[in-house]
């Protein structure tokens, strides 16, 4: 390529030096322009944009770096993934809309956000739907996970793989939570989701929707008594500076999803599609290892900062929210999925 470019360029300069006529100069200029365009057309490297809203230190970002590396290796550099972190290209639901209109290739969103786009994702976000970590992975890696990933295609959002986002637990400022009864009367911050607020109501607490960015001050000023999230988020958000009790009740295991625009997907050749799909699947276990590492580090760090880690009896918590799962069984499609998940062996 570079040889081609050089030869064209030197030819042009030669011309304009030997005969200094205006016309020839113009011709040489247009030749240069032609050369540039010719190069543009012959460009062999295809780039797919990947946008997400996490910071670059996050374990899930590291998983995506691994994904990009694998795509590059498989394609011998012919297909690359450009990662745009920190929400540069918009929030999670904005990125999904960009996928639907085909302006963005791939994004990473929480399965909670996917709910509003593809309803089958709801079952993954129910409280205590997973019996254990191993069960959670079995569900995500198994046929149910695949069915849910594929269900997005109808909405022009093709799921590539699940990334682990741990499980979410309560943290409180003044009153520690040892059993579900302790939640009653507490104001707990929840995500913008019906399921999340129902869960808190079932336990007797009052759910307060507050945006993640405002939560630090809200905890500090006592607008809420607590919140819930996974250990790395609890640590990275510095909420542990105010919330001194962390109850590992592990109520939900909402995964992250790598989603691709079907419009961009269909533009790829079959070979390229395979590279992307394989790389995504292979990057999932790598990401899980990163996540484990960061979870352990975070728990250690918050403990050192004086946070009391409480390990309650999880089955009590599970019982108190059982009615929510029953409620979702009203929908026959979701009922089938929920039953399949409950039958899956860890």
């Amino acid at each position: 390529m570079s040889h081609f470019w050089n030869s064209r360029l030197s030819n042009c300069t030669q011309y304009s030096f030997t005969c200094c006529g205006f016309v020839v100069k113009m011709a040489s200029v247009s030749l240069i322009i032609l050369a540039v365009f010719a190069c543009g057309n012959q460009k062999q490297v295809k780039e797919i944009k990947l946008a997400h809203s996490l910071s670059e230190e996050h374990a899930v970002h590291k998983g995506m770096l691994d994904f990009a590396e694998r795509v590059k290796k498989k394609s011998n550099g012919k297909l690359t993934i450009g990662i745009y972190a920190n929400g540069q290209l918009g929030s999670e639901s904005q990125c999904l809309e960009l996928l639907q209109i085909g302006s963005l290739g791939i994004t990473k969103v929480s399965a909670a956000v996917m709910e509003s786009f593809a309803p089958k994702y709801k079952v993954l976000n129910l409280p205590y739907i997973y019996k254990s970590k191993a069960h959670r992975f079995a569900v995500h890696d198994g046929p149910i996970g695949q069915e849910i990933l594929n269900s997005g295609e109808e909405y022009w959002l093709k799921g590539l793989c699940f990334y682990d986002a741990g499980s979410r637990s309560f943290y409180t400022t003044n009153k520690p939570i040892y059993n579900p009864e302790d939640v009653s009367g507490l104001k707990i911050r929840v995500m913008k989701s019906i399921t999340a607020s129902k869960m808190i109501s079932e336990m007797g607490g009052s759910p307060v929707p507050i945006s993640w960015g405002e939560l630090y001050t809200a905890l500090q000023q006592g607008v809420v008594d607590g919140a819930e999230n996974n250990p790395p988020s609890f640590y990275l958000s510095r909420h542990y500076e105010i919330a001194k009790y962390y109850t590992l009740d592990e109520h939900t295991g909402i995964p992250d999803v790598l989603v691709m625009s079907t419009i961009v997907w269909n533009r790829l050749s079959e070979e390229e599609q395979n590279w992307v799909k394989e790389a995504a699947i292979e990057s999932a276990p790598v990401q899980r290892a990163y996540w484990n590492e960061s979870e352990e580090e975070s728990l250690k760090a918050v403990q050192e900062a004086g946070v009391e880690i409480i390990k309650p009896d999880i089955s009590d918590f599970a019982k108190s929210t059982n009615s929510i799962i029953e409620e979702f069984k009203d929908d026959p499609d979701l009922k089938r999925l929920i039953e399949l998940i409950q039958q899956t062996d860890a």
């Binding site: 209109i101 509003s116 909405y155 913008k192 607020s197 009052s206 759910p207 929707p209």
Partner: protein, 153 residues
Amino acid sequence: MRKVLDEINRSLLIALSILMVLSALLQVFARTIDLNAQFTEELTIFSMMWVTLFGSAYAFGIKKHIAIDILSSSLGAENQKRLAVFIEVVIILFTVLILLIGGGRFVWITFKLGQVSAVMHIPKGWIYLALPVSGLIILFYSILNIIDEVKKA
């Protein structure tokens, strides 16, 4: 014609602004009196989107948008008129391409794929409908402005 549209637009804007303020207030109260009013956040955002888009359409109608008039004030009467028509044509181009075609396509996709809002579960297409609808209003005002400009002579 223009007066009717102005009137409709104005009352809609007033109603939406009141709705926006009330739902924001309700959210603040809900936090202190233990009431779960999750819908307020979405309602505030959505009414703000509508206020912004319809407000800017209204501003086109009464010609209250920010304008830098160095060029126009240095021109003669005839050229000023030509410039005014040219500006309206540019506005029409923008409106048709971005708001009507782009916005319309976006609304169509959102309806087709059935995206709903996270809390209130209303189809997002209804919310994004503000784009092509405000586009129509701007288009209408721009045409009226051109007619006025031509008649002035």
